[in-house]
């Protein structure tokens, strides 16, 4: 199970600045901790987040172990046209998840 919680306004006026909020299920294991038996716990984090608006990248983030578990990222974009806003998270151990939201721009 890997739920993502995406908040994008369903509709907006052309030219409006809209806020996009994202929450992604992920442990964000830092790689700096040890288990109760003393073994180092290997790093397992999301390293990259990309948001595209109708296929064009509009926002990107590089993440490090200092990002809290279940990464929360919010940012803004100008509502330019109706269509699809897509999100992609990639990380350690081949991790890759996507989500998308539709927006109607009048």
């Amino acid at each position: 199970m890997a739920a993502a919680l995406i908040n994008v306004p369903k509709r907006a006026k052309r030219g409006d600045v809209i806020e996009i909020k994202t929450l992604m299920s992920h442990i964000m294991e830092t790689g700096f901790r040890h288990s109760t038996t003393g073994e180092p716990i290997p790093r397992d984090i999301i390293t990259n987040f990309v948001c595209s608006y109708n296929g064009v990248e509009i926002f990107r983030a590089d993440l490090y172990p200092a990002i809290a578990a279940n990464p929360f990222i919010t940012f803004f974009t100008v509502a330019t046209e109706s269509g699809k806003i897509e999100f992609k998270w990639t990380g350690d151990n081949g991790y890759s998840e996507t989500a998308s939201a539709a927006i109607a721009v009048e």
């Binding site: 600045v17 809209i18 830092t30 700096f32 901790r33 040890h34 288990s35 109760t36 038996t37 003393g38 608006y53 509009i58 926002f59 990107r60 983030a61 590089d62 993440l63 490090y64 172990p65 200092a66 990002i67 809290a68 578990a69 990464p71 929360f72 990222i73 919010t74 940012f75 803004f76 974009t77 100008v78 330019t80």
Partner: protein, 157 residues
């Protein structure tokens, strides 16, 4: 060394491991980044360019209830036009095991240069945000954060 401790029934190795377990739960680790390590991480991003204070506003609650999850917002005063906009925002800390926190890449399509996230802070320390403009200029803000530690021990799940 590996003789079992008569009182607790654990080996010395387990005992040491348990100590480390507590330290990492409380997020206090001896091997932390330093102000020098942070300066080096910043140099990697900005090169030799001058970073000036101003334009950037870094917001973190003044008293953090738990260093494992700290809300952070960086806003930059910019019209975000094709001619005058922010291209990236970088966040650094000085006392986590590693000085980098996150880098955000944006452009005029953002409309507003403001990003929020949640970060981990191992201890009370200084956090710095740096913004790069499309003209290459670099601006920054820093904030001293007080992190309170949890009182009760926790078992690892």
């Amino acid at each position: 060394m590996n003789e079992r401790n008569r009182i607790t029934g654990t080996t010395r190795r387990q005992f040491l491991a348990a100590g480390v377990g507590v330290a990492s739960i409380l997020a206090v680790r001896p091997a932390s980044a330093t102000p020098e390590a942070m300066a080096a991480a910043i140099r990697q991003i900005v090169g030799g360019a001058t970073v000036r204070p101003g334009k950037v506003k870094l917001d973190i609650p003044p008293l953090v209830e738990n260093g494992n999850t700290v809300s952070l917002t960086v806003s930059v005063a910019s019209p975000m036009t094709p001619d005058n906009h922010v291209t990236s925002i970088h966040v650094f800390n000085e006392k986590n095991p590693q000085p980098n926190v996150a880098s955000f890449h944006l452009g005029p399509r953002a409309g507003r240069a403001s990003v929020s996230t949640r970060i981990r802070l191992a201890d009370s320390q200084t956090v710095i945000a740096i913004a790069r403009m499309n003209d290459g200029s670099l601006w920054s803000d820093k904030i001293d954060v007080i992190v309170t530690l949890a009182a009760c021990v926790e078992e690892l799940i």
